[in-house]
Structure formats: C-alpha cells, structure tokens
Amino acid sequence: MTEKKLLMGNEAIALGAIEAGVQVVTGYPGTPSTEALETVARYADRCGIYAEWSSNEKVALETAVGAAYSGAKALVTMKQVGLNVASDPLMSLTYIGVKGALVLLVADDPGPHSSQTEQDTRAFGHFANIPVLDPATPQEAYELTKLAFELSHEFEVPVILRTTTRVSHSCGDVEVAAPGPAAVEASCEGFTKDRRWTIFPRLTAERHPWLENVQVQLSERFSGLPYNSVSGSGKIGIIASGVSALYVKEAVKGFEELFTIFRIGTVHPFPEKAALSFLKGIEKLIVVEELDPYLEEQALQLIGKAHLPVDIYGKKNGFFPVSGEYNVDVVIDCINKVLSDLGENSRLSHASPAIFRGELPPLPVRAPTLCAGCMHRTVFYAFKQAAKQLKKDTQVETIFSGDIGCYTLGNAYPLNMVDTCLCMGAGVSIAGGLFRTNPEVKQVAFIGDSTFFHSGIPAVINAVYNGADITLAVLDNRTTAMTGHQPHPGIGVTALGNHSKAIDIASVVRSCGVEFVKTVETGSLEGCVEVAKEAMEFKGPSAVVFKGKCVGITKSGTRFEIDSESCTGCGFCVKQLGCPAIFLPAGEDRPLIQDSCSGCGLCAQVCPSGAIRESWVKK
C-alpha cells in the first residue's frame, strides 16, 4: 500500500535508503545534504540502522567501505566539496569495488548558495568511473536511491546519487511504499578475508579492465531504464538532466510540437544506445544543464563517434551560461537565442510580472551575518582590539585567516576579520604559509570546533613540527552550527544521541606540542582581549580555545536595552559590532535594541558612555 507524504528531497532519499535495506549510514554535515542522515538517524532505532556523524567525509566514506566490505548496505552523505575530502579513498575504491552495497549521496550547489565551489559531481563520476544518478524531484530522489542500492549490489561498485540544492532542499508530495519506515531485514554476512580487499599495483592493474567493462555494461543497462525517456517528436532535440529537465518542460509549454526532449536520470555512464536512437531523429540539439557541460561533451563525443549530422547548442558555443543556477526564465532566454540562430519564427514567452527587476527602487543590502549574541562576534572583536594594541606597541600588523563555518561571516562589515578563507581546515595551514612569506606580520587563524576535528589537527601538527609562528583561535560553540547544529567529537554525544567520550580541544592542541594553550569563556570581552594579546605575543605556535554558546540552540534569560537618557548617539555600538539586534531607526540618532537580542552583553561592554544595560528577563 503506497502513501503520499510531503518530503524534502533529502528525507525522500533517507526513506528510499531505509526501504532498500541500508544498515550503516555515515556522513559529515554539509548544506544541502545534511537532512538525509538526520532523517535516517530519527528512524535508526526503530529500523535497526547504525548512523554516525563522522569526523570528516574521508573518514565517513572509509567507515562505510568497511561496512560494505562485510556485505552490509551502506550510505555516505556529504556535500560536493565533501567529496573532494573523500576523493582519496573513493578513487581507489572504484578498483576494489564493494560487496553489499555502497551509495554516496553527494549534493551539488549551483549558484552557489552555501558553498565555496560550483563543481559538478557528474563530472567527478566520469573522472572516477563511478555511476551517477541525477534525480529531478523528491519523488525521483526516492526512487533513484533504491535503484542506486540495487545497482551497487549487482555490479559491486560504489554508486553516486547526485542531487542539487533544488532537489535536496525542495519539498514535494512523494508516493512512498509504506506509511512508515519498517525495520531493515537485511543481514550482513561479515568480513571474509580475501586478497581482493588489499589494493596493490598488481591488483589495480588486474581490476582496471573490469572497471572499464562495468562502465560499458552500465551504459547498456541505463539505456533501457525508464528514467531516461524521450517525449515529443519535434525537429529540434533537447537533452537535459536533473531539475533542468523540469525547467525545459515548463519553458517550452505551448511549443511542444517544435521539440523532442530526451530526459536523462542516469547520467553516468552515459546511456549511449538510448541517446543514439534519440539523436538519429534530429538535426539540431539543445543541451540544457547546470554547472559543467557534461551531457554536452557526451553528446558531442557520440555524434562524432557515430558521424551524425547534428549541430549542438549549449555552453561550449555560448548559448547557455557556463555558471550559476538555471531557472525557467534562463532556459527560455537561451532556447530563444537558439531559435533565432536557427531562423525559426517561434519564440518562447515569459510571463508578465507585476514589475520588472530593473524597475525596483534601491533596496537595502541584507547580507547574511552572525546572529545576535553570537560568541564569534566577541572573539573577532577581541582580536581586532588585540591586533590594534599589538600594532600600537610594536608596529606589527596582523593577518587573519578564516575557515569554513558560521564564523566565515566574520568577513562581513563592520568586523572585516577574515582575510583568507579557502576550504575546511585550510586557515591554519595558510597562516603557516603566510608566516614563511610575511615573517614580520603576526598570523592568526580562526577555526570552529567541528572544523578543528574535521581537518584542523594535521595543520596544527604541521605548524608545531615546522615551527610556524601562528596563533590558533578555536571558536568552540559546542556544535556544528552552520549546517543546523549537529554534534561533533567534542560534544560527547553521537548522531544517534548516545553518550560518547568528549574530546577536549585544548588537550589535543597541547598534545600536538603547542606550548601556549589557554581556554577562555567569551562572556568577558576584556578577558578575551587579554588572552588574545598574550597568545599573539607568544613566540612560537600558540592557541586559545574560546568557549561560548551557540544562540541557535541555547535559551538566553536576559536581554539588553539602551538608556536613551545616557546614550549620546555616538553610534559606536552600531558601527563597531554589526549586531543584528541593534539598529538605528531612519532619521534618528539613538539606536534601539530589538527583540532578537539574546543578552550576550557585548554592546554594553563597548558602549563608551555606559548607556547599555541588562533590562529584563525574557519570557
């Protein structure tokens, strides 16, 4: 008996995995992939599934590999940049293969909305010889997840389920097989010793032909699957995958007779046979896809191989944008460009808006910012003060390296405290490199607690080993905040809510050989400035662990207000802190504190006239 449920794409994937009999689920949080593992964890107890937030994506994949070697069905979840971290084991794993099943959910982020790259996991699949499925809706995500497990088990290869933000974070009505997830019945035979599990140059040489042959077999299989379908019989062909296929469907509404649309759900290995029969019926081909010209390259290759007289219109000849997120309007504009080039009279039309974008009045810039009361603001402000004093006392400048997390927002005006940011854990190592080339400048590296465990530790060890004179500032708010507050190794709680040993960051740093290690609470700005300055003046690697609370998961009992009698209207609090709770009403000179105040008291500590006071206890 099937049932319709409103599911987010990531939830649909979790339910699909449970239905497929997944036994072990690992991952590292990353937008837009996070909710998949969270959903599995919610049902883990009922269904008998093991789930964990691992310390990083490489560890997550390797853990899942161990489970799959033993015959279990495993799922690993991550965002696209997480795949870069996991790519080392994955590239080798393709030669070894798996028993049981191993599916990787990798969420791409065209735009990007919440990522540092616009990379395309379909291209990664091509590079690594890993099959890639590319759903367009939560319903397809649910179905393709189950297919991914079947394929992985049958062909003994890892399979990537690749989504984009508009699939993972879209909600839709999904027809699921059962009203609620049932206990997983699959059993796991356990690990059997065999030389196939130990990679070695000779084994790789033996396995490589097998791996290439699997690609051929999969391409054959994919050509017969209903997820790759042709509709229409117009003279202009369109090929699309993922959400782009839905944009196409909506864009060509009313002009369907002009086009034949080939929609691909299993993108790699390219379903050549199905594509060939589609291409044979057309002379002009439009390729609609976000990110890399993956389908375009596959089509070009196939057309060349089969000597077909088909002209292609895509990214490579400038008809479609090479970057950014697509939508129906982008697709309409681009297809119209092609129609015009082809000398066609028809044009797809846009809807008439209430107003065009160009007619809007100037609007306030509303950049994302640290929450009201965020401990990171106190730490950034403290280092700003400490660096000012250092410069005054010794003429030494400071470079601040940032990292990935909420605290990347320390780059925003007016804090301006992030001079570099690259990828998870990079801040500490970059600071080391900056020290080699800017020895007269003080190097400070900020890193969050979860990021520290993810990939910060090797960089700390490197700084100590090679003697990089850097100051490490760990922003320990006791959660993985940016992705929605997942636990991490420093908390003492696992993804399943079980207690575990909480790993103390200061002890780790000390055991790496850092001689100056201090821990300070972020309640007192003065205390933070003092310790920051002391750490910056220390010769050799130094570290401070700043401990505070994430306002996203803690309740504050108080809030602050500005006494309009004593406020001089200097605006210092507004200009220095950028706290979203403090604002200056238009035309006024005295700021106000809004309801979102969570009572950190940083503003009261910086107010030159002592006009900000704790006011009342929150309801």
Partner: protein, 210 residues
C-alpha cells in the same frame, strides 16, 4: 489548476514553517505540490524566500518571473525584492513591520520602509498591508507573524483551500506548547481582516475550480 505562492522574509521569521504548512494544506486539498526554500548561510539574518507551487502536475520548484499568484511578504523590503515574481494583477499580503539590516556597509542604500510600502501600494492595487508582527505580539509572541499572515491569506480567500485545512495542519505541525498562541494569531488575523473594507472579499477569491 496552478497556483504559485511566494513567501519572502528575513532569516529567522519562519518562512520555512509557513511554506511547509501551505504545502501540507495543498496536499490535504488533493493537489500536487513542490516547494523551494532558502536553507543554509542566508538563514543568518539574510534575505530568504520560499516558493510554493500548487497544481495538478509537478513542475520545477522555482516559480518563474511574473508567475506567482500570491506574494506573502513578512517584511516590506523583502516583499519589494520579490515583486518581479508576482504576475500582473497578482495578490500581495505584506507585513508592515520592518527589519532593518544588521549593518549598513558604506554605499548601500538607506532603508526607508514607508517609501517601500507606498511603492508596493502604487504597484499592487488592493494589497493587504497590516502590522502582522504587532498582531502576533498581541496574541502572545511576535514570532507568530508568519502564521498570522497565513490566517489573513486564508481569511480573504486568497488560497486554493479553506482555512479549516490550514488549521488542521497547524494542529499537526506546530508543537503543542506553541500551538495555542499560533492559533490565536491565526484567528486574530482572520478577524482583523473582516474589519477591513469589504472590497477584499469576493473579487480576490481564488477560484479553486479552475
């Protein structure tokens, strides 16, 4: 039948919850639905929006420009920002309570909510503008402004389903300890708009039989 709703606001205002409630209500009413939400970095006080597409068939989750039938704006500037998504003659419900940006980087435009509200009124005749934050605060918490706005939308017949359906969703979606205050905010908005001139009724009704 096709009915596209866009909810716009600032991170933390409850755009995602409002969107989920509408989507669940649409499903209860027997429609297909898809939504696209802003999740992630922008939730930290940034501009957020949610696209809710209701109809007889599944489409991509993003509403094309000029196709939204209804724009629910939890904040004046965010409502104006998303106006290009509204179709000509589409309906607007806007919360007059403004949220100034956290910081004003040099060169960024001055925020004048009153001017933006007049702009909206000039470009969308018949828009429904109220201080829903105040209305929610009177009901018990300013945080329920999102649910109050759903009450206004349902009360004026701007949605392709009844207010009873949303109330049923409210029961299952909002945790018990917040339920009463949200219900009060919802009903408060329904009552409030009854007092506003009658022109909202009738002509703005959605014909759900389309």
């Amino acid at each position: 039948m096709k009915y596209d709703i866009l909810i716009a606001g600032v991170g933390g205002q409850g755009v995602v919850l409002a969107s989920r409630m509408l989507a669940l209500a649409a499903m209860k009413a027997g429609f297909c639905v898809s939504t696209a939400e802003t999740i992630g970095m922008s939730q930290r006080e940034g501009s957020v929006s949610s696209h809710i597409r209701i109809g007889d068939e599944i489409s991509g989750s993003l509403i094309p420009a000029g196709q939204a039938d209804l724009l629910i704006g939890l904040e004046p500037a965010e409502t104006v920002r998303n106006l290009p998504f509204l179709k000509k003659g589409g309906k607007i419900i806007v919360n007059s309570h403004s949220i100034p940006p956290a910081s004003k980087p040099p060169g960024s435009p001055e925020y004048d909510p009153a001017a933006l509200l007049s702009f909206l009124k000039a470009h969308a005749p018949g828009l429904l503008c109220l201080d829903f934050t105040q209305l929610a605060e009177d009901a018990g918490t300013y945080r329920a402004a999102n649910v109050a706005m759903l009450g206004a939308a349902a009360g004026t017949g701007m949605l392709p389903f009844s207010k009873e359906i949303i109330l049923a969703v409210l029961k299952t979606e909002i945790p018990e300890k917040h339920r009463a205050v949200n219900r009060t905010a919802f009903e408060g908005a329904v009552e409030k708009i009854k007092l506003i001139s009658g022109h909202l009724n009738g002509e703005q009704k959605v014909n759900s039989n389309v």
